[in-house]
């Protein structure tokens, strides 16, 4: 019993001693853990701060790099473009300064009731065009036919004149009417209408100068002023090769406008006037002035979504000619009126058909005329290869040329190689 009491006292003493010695240490340990935790938190905060700073830095670097990549991409594209252009320039270097060239062959097989048939080599037309310098362009059409070879057009035109002006000089088709300035192979039918042949003198070939002004209006309005030795390829009134008084030149004025009725329908209107102050025809020593006027109207139905295979064009021109004409030993001032009207319907991408009505008065024999009726059918095998069949019936009271009367049949074949365009005027 006594030993048990001693033991219990010893244990109690040890417990008390342990408490006395160990308790402060426990407090110390608790304090140390808190510090550690605090330190760790502080460290973690610092690490987090550093990490955030690093992320910020990386993001900045990334965005800087993205910018650089964008810049690099842009620079690469630009460089690629330059290289591409250089390669093209090198590839085309041997021919770079050569003008664009093309050749048109226009031939017909014809039968005219009054004169018989022929294979008509109408034209091999060589077209050449290029820029002269930053201020001008030049083009030429050299035409070979069974009548011989001639320079049909060779003209320079400005590209950089101020105030919407364009000047043209040389030999070219004067800006008179609509179809008269077309080259024959570009017409919608086989032959130039007789009204144009007789009143204008065929294609409006002229040696001279022209100045064109585009009005700064919201709609298309264009004026042309011109001065020429004469106008008309077959116009024999004046001699093209001699110097003469300025009163014996031909002067032209034209206004041309255009209206979109809707997206698909349009109307184009032009009015032209040529004035020659002094003309002396054989048999009329007195002479006088000549005034040739023209009005042209073109309606087009061009459905935008199906233009390739649908469309209709209706074009008409009316001409008046006033001049002194010697007839029956008397020279009198006379008025002639003529013109044509045609319509062409596109049947599909390759085929189109149309009809031409032509009223060609005689300038020399007042009251006499030739009236022509010509249905035609065109097959565009491709953009550069075309066959056309035309039947014409000409009711003729002029009796000047057997070719201008009766039934006529034409099969025309027109082909193009190379670059060949007559530009805006014959669109």
């Amino acid at each position: 019993m006594g030993s048990l009491v001693r033991k219990s006292r010893l244990v109690s003493g040890c417990v008390v001693l342990s408490y006395v010695f160990l308790l402060p240490r426990t407090g110390l340990t608790q304090e140390s853990t808190t510090d550690t935790l605090r330190r760790q938190v502080t460290e973690m905060q610092e690490q987090l701060k550093k990490a955030l700073e690093r992320i910020d830095q990386l993001e900045k670097e990334k965005s800087a790099n993205t910018g650089k990549i964008d810049q690099l991409q842009s620079a690469t594209t630009a460089r690629l473009g330059e290289v591409e252009k250089s390669v093209q320039a090198v590839q085309s270097a041997p021919t770079a300064l050569n003008p664009a060239m093309g050749l048109v062959l226009d031939a017909t097989a014809e039968h005219r009731a009054k004169v018989g048939g022929t294979f008509n080599f109408r034209a091999a037309e060589l077209g050449i065009a290029a820029s002269v310098d930053p201020f001008a362009r030049m083009y030429s059409f050299i035409n070979g036919s069974r009548e011989g070879v001639e320079v049909e057009e060779a003209a320079a035109l400005t590209t950089s004149l101020p105030w919407n002006l364009t000047a043209k000089g040389g030999r070219f088709h004067a800006d008179f009417g609509r179809l008269p300035k077309y080259h024959e192979h570009e017409l919608p039918f086989v032959n130039m209408p007789l009204s144009v042949e007789r009143m204008v003198g065929g294609e409006t070939a002229a040696d001279g100068v022209e100045m064109v002004y585009l009005f700064p209006t919201p709609f298309f309005l264009r004026a042309t002023l011109g001065g020429y030795n004469k106008m008309g390829e077959e116009n024999e009134r004046l001699d093209d090769s001699k110097s003469r008084a300025w009163s014996r030149f031909t002067y032209l004025g034209r206004l041309n406008t255009y209206l979109d009725i809707t997206d698909n329908h349009s109307l184009e209107l032009g009015t032209s006037m040529t004035y020659t102050p002094s003309v002396r025809l054989v048999g009329d020593p007195v002479g006088g002035d000549r005034l040739l006027n023209g009005i042209d109207l073109t309606y087009r139905y061009q459905p935008l979504s199906s233009l390739v295979y649908q469309g209709l064009t209706w074009g008409s021109e009316l001409f008046t000619n006033r001049e002194r004409i010697p007839f029956d030993d008397v020279a009198k001032r006379r008025l002639s009126i003529g013109g044509y009207s045609y319509a062409e319907l596109k049947l599909n991408k390759s085929w189109s058909t149309g009809f031409l009505f032509d009223y060609g008065p005689s300038i020399e024999k007042p009251g006499k005329k030739t009236i022509g009726y010509s249905p035609f059918l065109t097959w565009n095998i491709s953009e550069f290869n075309r066959l056309r069949f035309q039947y014409s019936y000409l009711r003729d009271s002029v009796r000047a040329d057997k070719e201008d009367a009766g039934n006529q049949f034409f099969l025309q074949w027109t082909t193009v190689i190379g670059a060949h365009t007559h530009g805006f005027l014959t669109r």
Binding site: D70, F220, S305, F424
Partner: protein, 309 residues
Amino acid sequence: MKIELLKGKNWKVFFISLAFIWLQTGLVSAQQIRAVASWPALADITKQIGKELVNVESLATGVEDPHGVPVKPSFVPRLNRADVLILIGLDDEHAWIPALLEVAGNPKILLGRPGYIDCSVGVPVLEAPTLVDRSEGDLHPKGNPHYLLDPVRAKIVAQNIARGLSRNFPQHQQAFEKNLKAYVAELDKWIDRWEKMAAPLRGIKFVEYHPEWIYLADRFGMKRIGSVELKPGIEPTPNHLVDLTQQIKQEKAQLLIYGAQNPRVPQQISNETGIKVLRLYSGGGSGPETDSYIKWIDYTVRTLVQSVS
């Protein structure tokens, strides 16, 4: 009598009318850059780059055959007043723009001048012919010009437009670059979306009327097996149509895509082979669903996917 008509008040009325017309044209968007684009999609991208600084209009409406846009004189006054002209290039507009520029009287936008912005610069071109001869059809010697149908290439187009505008108006360069960045980022998002959307198109065999769809096909993994045209720009011959229908049957082509061409031949082929015929324009801007570049590509991809689903 004629002289009387032009006396006094009549002259005044004439000159006042002329001055009025003159003033009207001068006032149109006097503060903005006047941009003219050949196609609506280019006009839209230009608008995205130029924003309020640019007044842009398109000459074509988007429904035209790319090679058959009419040479309308009403385009001439617009070109006459333009500060910049934005084109597809690669001779895409060769049949109509040069003829218009000839009479537009605006040296700023002639070929080679700063205002002539050719969007094809730096664009990787497909189908550049190895033989440039018209026996191969109406070829584009510099390659297929219908690259706008690939939205990835459109990013280069946007860069070209931004660069072209900056070249002409360096005072606005920063604004153009900022707008370019935003537009390219938007395009990138759409491209991701289109890539996913177009998954069903991968491997689909198709026939096209004219070689217009190669860039889109290349982007989304479609496979062209033939064209209705015998050669580019050349209408099909009966023999070619027989060969094509056989090919469609053999290769199990699913789609025939045509645009501004005559629907008669595609319908005829469809009747014979059962191939699905789809009319899609390769110009954009043809309706409210396609009046922006992004909407146009989205509409095109969606329509293609729906047609094969």
